[in-house]
Each structure stands twice: as C-alpha cells, then as structure tokens.
C-alpha cells in the first residue's frame, strides 16, 4: 500500500538537505573561527593587584598541590632582615628555625647577602600557594611576593575551579602568549 508518511525518497532528500546545510554551516564556522582567532589561545592567571590572599588557591585547585605558586619580584624586595613574609608575627628570633617561619611547608629559603640584607627565594616544589607569605609581605612589606598560576603545573581546565571560588574575582583568562601577570612595582 502506498503511504505518504513512508516515502524513502522524500526522507532521503530531507536528510541530504539537512546534511548539506549543516556541513556548509560547519565550513563557514571554521573559516570565521580561523579568521577571528588568529591563533589566539587563553590561559588562566591571577591578577596580583586584585588578589586578597584568602588562601583558597591552595584548596580549590583540581591539583594537589595547587598549580598556584608564590613568585618573587626581586627588584621590588627590600631584602629585610625581619621579613614579614618569612617570619611569624612575633618570631622568637630572626633565624631559619621552623618555629619562626610563616610558611607552613618551609618553601621559602632565606639567604644572607650582606649586612643587613637577606634574600628570600621560593622553592616551588614545596609551595602550596596558600598565600600566607604574600599576605605578610603585602601587609607590612613591599608586596614583592605574590601568587601566580604556574604554566608548567596548570592543566588548563576549560573552567578554572579556583576562579569559580575566588572572592576577589582576580583570576581570568589571559592571552597564552603573555601568560603571566607578574608584579612589576607599578600601580595598575
């Protein structure tokens, strides 16, 4: 029995039309995409001037330890003996004793340069990105210590799970060819 709802040629024609239309759209979209993108890629980064050192970078990253590390802009540093990023608020003495250190994992190395200056470097293999040192340095020092998402650690989640929680909304997509927002000492 001939039946209008069961007409393979018409169905096939409809399918072919939809298919060609969709394939053409894809072609158009690809061209438009390549035109606009120009190879642009994005990575997540922290704006250190927005960061409030809440400490969630250490806990919200999908990685453990976090891809967020403390970095040091040495030209901004005062090379203080009493470094408030290195020492507890009331240190027993100004030496490298664990009880005096602010860093919970001992990731900051203190090195004597010359009287009265000390240099502080971060061991990123230990750093967990908790921002305790950053808070200390920013509150009482020059603010040369700050947090950055390390490109060699970050797994480039399509949606950064720290960015979702960041109260200061300091984490955003930045162009991949300039992936860092490292403090340079000038106000933004």
């Amino acid at each position: 029995m001939p039946d209008e709802t069961h007409n393979p040629t018409r169905r096939d024609f409809l399918r072919a039309t939809v298919r060609s239309g969709a394939l053409l759209t894809i072609g158009g979209m690809s061209v438009a995409m390549f035109e606009r993108a120009r190879g642009r890629d994005w990575v997540w980064q922290i704006d250190p001037y927005k960061c409030t050192m809440c400490g969630q970078c250490a806990t919200e990253c999908v990685l453990d330890p976090s891809a967020v590390k403390c970095v040091h802009t040495f030209p901004m540093c005062g090379y203080c003996d009493l470094c408030t990023g290195y020492f507890e608020p009331q240190p027993n003495s100004l030496n490298t004793g664990a009880e005096n250190q602010l860093c919970p994992v001992g990731a900051i190395k203190r090195k004597f340069i010359e009287e009265p200056y000390f240099e502080y470097t971060i061991d990123e293999s230990l750093c967990i990105g908790c921002a305790k040192c950053v808070a200390g340095c920013t509150a009482f020092g020059n603010g040369s210590l700050h947090l950055q998402i390390r490109r060699d650690k970050c797994v480039d989640c399509n949606d950064c799970s720290i960015a979702r929680k960041c109260p200061a909304r300091a984490i955003s997509r930045v162009p991949a060819d300039t992936p860092y927002l490292i403090k340079d000492g000038h106000p933004h």
Binding site: R15, R19, A22, R36, C77, G78, D156, P167, A168, R169
Partner: protein, 448 residues
C-alpha cells in the same frame, strides 16, 4: 645610599598599613644597593605545554574519528571499537587530562558568540566541529569510543539492563534541560556548568574535589548495569549529535534484504536504539495525531518560555557580578549586617559601585531574554518528541534509530551475517538456517 635598618622601618611600615589596602604600592623599604655587587635573580616565567600540543590533539582527534568510522561502518568490529575506546581514554582522558573536550566546547562556542572579547581558540573550535562533521557523515562514531567520557562508561559496562521506555523517554529530556542551562550560563559569562559538573575529569586527573570523584564513581557504578548513563541522560553534546545523526550519510544500518528478523541485535543493543517493525499503523489515526500534536506545539513552546521567564532571575544569581551587586546593595541599604570577603575585596579595589550595578543590570537583561528563549526552544524540542512518540512510524523492517545509536558496535557481533557467525551457521542445515529461533540460539546462545 640608604642603609636604613629594616627592623625599625618595619614598624613604620605597619603604620602605613592603616592607610588602607591600596598601600601595597608604597615602597616601604627601598630596594637596597648592594656593596658586594649582588645580582638580583630573575623572576622565573615557567613555560607551559608547547604550542604543537594543540596541533597534535586535533590530529589525534581526526585520526581517531576516521578509525572509528572505519571500524563501525566497514570493519563492523566491536573489538576494534573497544580498542579505540581504550586508546582514546588513555590519550584524551588520562594523558591530556580530559580537557578540553567536545562536550565542554559548547560553552566556549557560546561564549565566543556572545562575548566579543573572547576569541575561540582553534583547538576548542576543532573539538566542537570535527565530531559534528563526522556525525553528519558517519553517525555518532565520536560517542562510540573517541569521547573519553563515553569510552570510560562503555568499558565498565558488563551488564546491560534494559530501561523501560516509559522511564527512558522522560530521562532523555534531561540532556535538553542541561543544554539549555549550559548555554544560558555560558552566554552570560556566568559559569561553565558542564565543566563544573563533569563527572569523570577528576578520575582522569586522579585528583579533584570529593563531590566530583563521588559523582564520577557513582555514574561508573551505575554504568556497570545501565550502559552509558551520562551519555543517555545528561550529555548535552549528545543532544546535538543525536539530532544531526538523523541526517547522517552513512550511519550503522540494518540491511533489510539480509535481515532474518532474529531480533538478536535488539537484544544486544544497550541503548534501546533498535526500532521494531510496526506494520499495524492506522494511517488515518496517525494523521489525526500528527495534526493534534502540531496544534498543541505552541503550548509547549509557551510553557517553556514561561518556565524560562520564571527561571531568569534565580539563574542570574549564579553570575558573580549579580551576586556581588546584590550583596553590595544589601550591605549599603543596611539589609544585612557585616561584610563578606567578596564585598571587602570589591571595596579594596576602589571601583565604582554605580558601575557594578550597571554591569549587573546588563547581565540580568541578558538573562531576561536568553532564558525564556532557550527554554521556549526546549519546549519546542519536548513537544516534537511528544509528536514523534504519539505518531508511530510505519516500519516494516528492523531499523536502527540513528539519534540513539552510539555506534558501540555490539549488535554487529550478534548479527548472523557477521563473518564469525556465518561460519557457525554453516554447520546448520538449510532448514535450520531459515528458522530464526535456531539461528538465535546458535549465534547468541552462550551470551544470552
């Protein structure tokens, strides 16, 4: 030359703090001039993945899709598809950490369409478009084993409990809702919910939040008995591929000239994708139902639009700008006591509150038209689904429903025309070969 004792200036610095947070810019301790000529170490800028990773990902995706199409349509090999699934699970899942994926790329594409400041990265565009192009040509070979989420679920499934149609149909509406929500939230720059609630990315990375891992493990546990629960009842990209595969050039099909109606494929299909022949269709009643179904379609669209209208405001609270503006307003009006970290951080930036309110209003306006539009489309889809359900199609043969078939290739092994089975069947007499019951027992007897 400055030789100030830092210990003394530390206290002075403490006083400066009282001037407020913006005091970071003040050089409390001038950087020293070293007499020993000490060189300042550079601030390291470690590099990430090399750029050619993107090209490699796109190449592997294209190759995997091609191999998948060949395995499903030409080789018709379940073993091959399993091998492909393992390979893609290892590469896209465990090695490349499951990101970026085609499912999540929906959000990037949406964001790029709505936010002129965001240019779509080429690799993300390729992950969005390549599976679509392959689906239009070869059916859902991407779902079969290339998608790491599909692959991990397919590999853990060892029993396929049949979900009854009365439950399957309503559950299949969930991906539409998920897609509508994801598009609205991505278009407004609020959230990437598909990524936030990705069940398996935590397993791929072997780290992640407890909720994420638990969700993934629960889905995998369920997937052991109900094949591919995420693909069927959640995946928003599956909605897109499902619709497009209806128009596909060459998806897996049953050859009516060879089919002996043994129903083994129907038994083997874990996703209810084999449609049974139904010749008892009443054409007159069908036509009536079709007209009626199309006539009530506007009701579904309107219901969707109304639902979207109601959801616009609650959904907009998922946007951080709206959240912040509402809280700031409440704090300023004295409706709430105290401050939270977010408002504290906002005040510290010294940004204009008026500007924040204007931004939040702009976001809200976007939600106000986007949500009803997306949900009206959702209503249309559900309405069309209803029409399809109430108007049985005339079928005198077994057919594979392209929109449901994820090209897992299980049915091929059961088909008496599979090379292995042909050898088995040659042991039978001619009469026995004509009896579907005997054929079924011979081919699928052990597995059934």
């Amino acid at each position: 030359m400055s030789r100030k004792t830092p210990v003394i200036s530390f206290f002075a610095g403490g006083l400066v703090l009282a001037a407020g947070r913006a005091a970071w810019a003040i050089e409390r301790f001038p950087p020293p001039d070293f007499e020993t000529g000490h060189q300042l170490p550079p601030t390291e800028r470690t590099a990430g993945n090399p750029g050619w990773y993107d090209a490699l990902d796109i190449t592997v995706l294209f190759a995997a899709l091609s191999v998948g199409a060949w395995l499903v349509l030409k080789a018709r090999s379940r073993k091959g598809v399993v091998g492909l699934a393992i390979a893609c699970l290892v590469y896209f899942g465990f090695w490349r950490n499951g990101c970026v994926c085609a499912i999540g790329s929906i959000q990037n594409v949406t964001l790029a369409l709505f936010d002129s400041g965001y240019a779509l990265p080429v690799v993300v565009g390729a992950f969005f478009l390549l599976p679509i192009a392959f689906t239009l040509l070869f059916g859902r070979v991407f779902c079969a084993g290339v998608c790491p989420l599909g692959a991990i679920q397919d590999l853990v499934s060892f029993r396929a409990l049949r979900v009854p149609e009365w439950l399957e149909q309503p559950l299949r509406v969930l991906p539409y809702v998920y897609l509508a929500l994801a598009v609205v939230l991505a278009a407004t720059g609020s959230a990437f919910v598909i990524c936030e609630y990705d069940p398996f990315v935590g397993i791929f990375r072997l780290s992640g939040g407890v909720a994420m891992i638990v969700f993934g493990v629960v889905l995998l546990a369920a997937g052991m008995f109900v094949v591919r629960p995420y693909c069927r009842y959640l995946c928003p990209y599956g909605v897109v591929l499902g619709w497009l595969s209806r128009a596909s050039l060459l998806h897996a099909r049953i050859d009516p000239t060879k089919c002996i109606k043994c129903r083994l494929c129907e038994d083997s299909c874990p996703v209810n994708a084999i449609n049974l022949p139904d010749e008892r269709v009443d054409v007159q009643a069908n036509r009536r139902r079709l007209v009626l179904g199309l006539a009530v379609l506007p009701v579904f669209v309107l219901a969707g639009a109304l639902l979207g209208y109601g959801l616009a405001s609650p959904l907009s609270r998922m946007n951080t700008t709206v959240q912040l503006a509402e809280r700031m307003h409440a704090e300023q009006a004295g409706a709430v006591e105290g401050v939270i970290k977010e408002t504290e951080a906002f005040r510290a930036t010294g940004a204009s509150v008026t500007r924040l309110y204007a931004d939040a209003l702009a976001v809200r306006r976007r939600f106000a038209w986007l949500t009803p539009t997306a949900f009206a489309l959702l209503g249309l889809m559900v309405g069309l689904k209803r029409v399809r359900l109430s108007v049985p199609a005339w079928r005198d043969e077994y057919e594979i429903e392209a929109s449901r078939c994820v090209a897992c290739a299980r049915c091929f092994e059961y088909c008496p025309h599979d090379a292995r089975n042909v050898a088995l069947l040659q042991q039978l007499t001619a009469e026995q070969r004509d009896d579907p019951e005997v054929v079924a027992l011979t081919v699928g007897g052990i597995d059934r």
